[in-house]
């Protein structure tokens, strides 16, 4: 790869009559760590030629909180869960979910059906909440402020349900190894159904306001096109991968919990407004996924069996030496937990494969040649949470 200096020298511009060669230079511009659209503390080093981005180099780690080191130093496996919450803080349920599934596999516990269904309901609610944030902030990145507040309003309803269930609105510590911290409240099913009914209308409203808005489509279609093979090679997952037209969802392709007993579709990007794999596709996959999540929630609530949610919680969590890699589908993509046990009460090694970390790595590849405004659009469509990128 040629260096920046070579790139600059390759295009000198001599003006007749001038003694020296005039040339235009690329400008290095720092986007972040304090920038309104980097969704936290991401620093992008942009090398720009006017408004055109020649290269984008992400610098991460500003929010590094030593998750893996903390996990190794906990006195037992259960204590890692609150730290999982704090990785993807807008989708904490899903992050917990992956970790408890990994630990249960390591301990070889079978959790009761009721627990599984409640977990699925919570995970899907969290998926909707996370997608609402992704969509809302994406609208804001593109310049539309109102959809953001509409999304926040609906997310509030979900957080209320969470609050009623476990007392927390953002970081839950709800899923425990082998069970749950609390059972759902008495009027849970009714509340959930009311939400689902309300929410379908909201999706329509959102589509009218943002998804099919001419300017929004102009800004996102054919921007940041990520071909399917590149997406797979970069390990992209979640809506980023599905936006490129790959029908791959761990809930279907590598089912965990009770997802194989529920019916739902996997939405993929079809290039309706431009090329398959552009920002609009990635955006639209999220909108469609919210609808599927509502379907899942409704089915799961109907099937919710009675029982005790804490009956399978082990008295002593001390798995035999061994290791496990478990991946689950979070709103951002697949989260993987590589847990190594050495026979003691605390984990020997917990490695997380955060979806945002992997998805963000694809950003330079699809931002080259785009405009500065497009970089914002691309970054928003990848939907990163820096808490998870940096851990």
């Amino acid at each position: 790869m040629e260096t920046l200096e070579e790139k600059i020298d390759a295009r000198p511009m001599t003006i007749p009559g001038f003694g020296r060669a005039l040339r235009s230079e690329e400008m290095v511009i720092n986007m972040g760590p304090q920038h309104p659209s980097t969704h936290g503390v991401l620093r992008l080093e942009l090398i720009v030629d006017g408004e055109i981005v020649v290269d984008a180099i992400p610098h991460i780690g500003y929010l590094h909180r030593c998750f893996e080191k903390h996990a190794e130093h906990m006195t037992n496996y259960q204590q890692v869960i609150p730290y999982c919450d704090r990785m993807d803080y807008v989708a904490a349920m899903n992050a917990e979910f992956g970790y408890v599934v990994a630990c249960e596999k390591l301990l070889n516990i079978k959790v009761p059906e009721r627990v599984e269904y409640i977990r699925v309901i919570m995970a899907e609610f969290q998926r909707i909440a996370s997608h609402l944030i992704a969509i809302g902030t994406y609208g804001m990145d593109i310049g539309a402020f109102t959809p953001f507040l509409f999304c926040m309003r609906d997310r509030e309803a979900i957080l209320d349900i969470f609050e009623q269930t476990c007392g927390a609105r953002l970081l839950y510590n709800y899923m425990w190894i082998g069970g749950l911290s609390h059972d759902v409240p008495a009027d849970f099913a009714e509340k959930v159904k009311r939400f689902c009914k309300m929410f379908r209308g909201t999706i329509k409203e959102l589509n009218n306001l943002l998804s099919y808005n001419k300017i929004f489509v102009e800004r996102t279609a054919n921007v940041g096109v990520l071909p399917a093979d590149v997406a797979i090679n970069y390990g992209a997952s979640g809506p980023v991968l599905r936006g490129s037209g790959v029908k791959f969802d761990l809930r279907k392709n590598d089912p965990y919990s009770v997802y194989d007993k529920l019916e739902f579709e996997i939405p993929t990007g079809k290039g309706l407004k431009g090329t398959t794999g552009d920002c609009w596709d990635r955006y639209m996959v999220r909108v469609d996924e919210m609808e599927q999540s509502v379907n899942i929630i409704e089915q799961a609530v109907d099937k919710l069996p009675p029982g005790d949610v804490q009956s399978a919680i082990p008295k002593r969590i001390r798995p035999d030496a061994g290791e496990v890699y478990v991946r689950t589908e979070t709103p951002k993509g697949e989260i993987g937990y590589y847990v190594v046990a050495d026979g003691t009460a605390s984990p020997f090694r917990v490695k997380v494969r955060p979806p945002c970390f992997v998805n963000l790595a694809v950003l330079p590849a699809i931002s080259r040649g785009a405009m500065i405004s497009d970089v914002i659009a691309i970054l928003g469509s990848v939907d990163i949470v820096l808490g998870e990128v940096d851990r």
Binding site: E51, I142, G143, A144, T146, L210, I215, S373
Partner: protein
Amino acid sequence: MKEFLIDILQNEILVYVLMAAVPLVWIIPFALFAVWWERKISAHMQDRLGPMRTGGWHGWAQTIADILKLIQKEDIIPAAADRKLFNLAPYVVFVGSFAAYAAIPFSAAYVGSEINIGLFYILAVSSFVVVGLLMAGWASNNKWSLFGAMRAAAQIVSYEIPVALSLLAVVMIVGTFDLQEINRAQSGYFWNWFVFQKFPLLFVAATIYFVASLAEVNRTPFDIPEAESELVAGYHTEYGGMKFALLFLAEYANMFAVSAIAATVFFGGWNSPFGDFMSGPVWGLFWFISKGMAFIFVHMWLRWTLPRLRVDQLMYVGWKVLIPFSFVIVLGVGFWVMLAR
């Protein structure tokens, strides 16, 4: 009004100072109101309440409190900034937008300066703003500000062409740049307004003017010079305190200026829509301000509904859509006027 004041005060210089102060007395309360209004409008569009506490009734004193806060703030100038230009820029911007008010006819009795090239003067003097914006962006010595300033310059200069051309269509009909003459030519009922004349040519011209004027004053969907999600805050990234307040004030003053021109040129200005009903110099002021405010409401409405265009798409809209269309309008109106003679 000038003659009347000279009669009372017997001092021409004092009268000129008074006359010049009138727009200033209008701009500041207007900007305070408009900022509060915009916050309320956006809030109600977004399912929330907006400011509710300051001052009691629906937070009416919120912007007054804001401006008091801004006045008290420390005047920070970045170490690497070009101090002279940095300090000068907000004033240049404000002067540019304030000077335009000299020729805006608020009512049949009041116009700051009744010059017969009023419209031309406004177009010319409001371009002054660009110089100020470029100054602000360059002097801040911040790459984001520079981007904002470059975008602003390119955008405002490009969109001046469709603005001028669409106004030219009306000028060709009236045969003068005098805004009071243009107003008088639209007196009577609302179907005499130019927007409904020579249908549909002037209707299209009014639309073009409105779209282009949105870009002139950097409002959504053309707010790319200050695109807060891309350029942090564009050319005023480094400004704080009173200088920021001045830039902000100029922005709102500009908004009213372009709305006032739209109201004057296409929507009858200070004329009552219903003939002699509620007409006269004082009612004229009412009608003029109501019409201006109606346009400002549409500005705000659009801002809280639409996303933002990209810079190349903005140029596309300007050069490849609005300018050719406005040329067609000018040509069409020209033929119409010539044949009707």
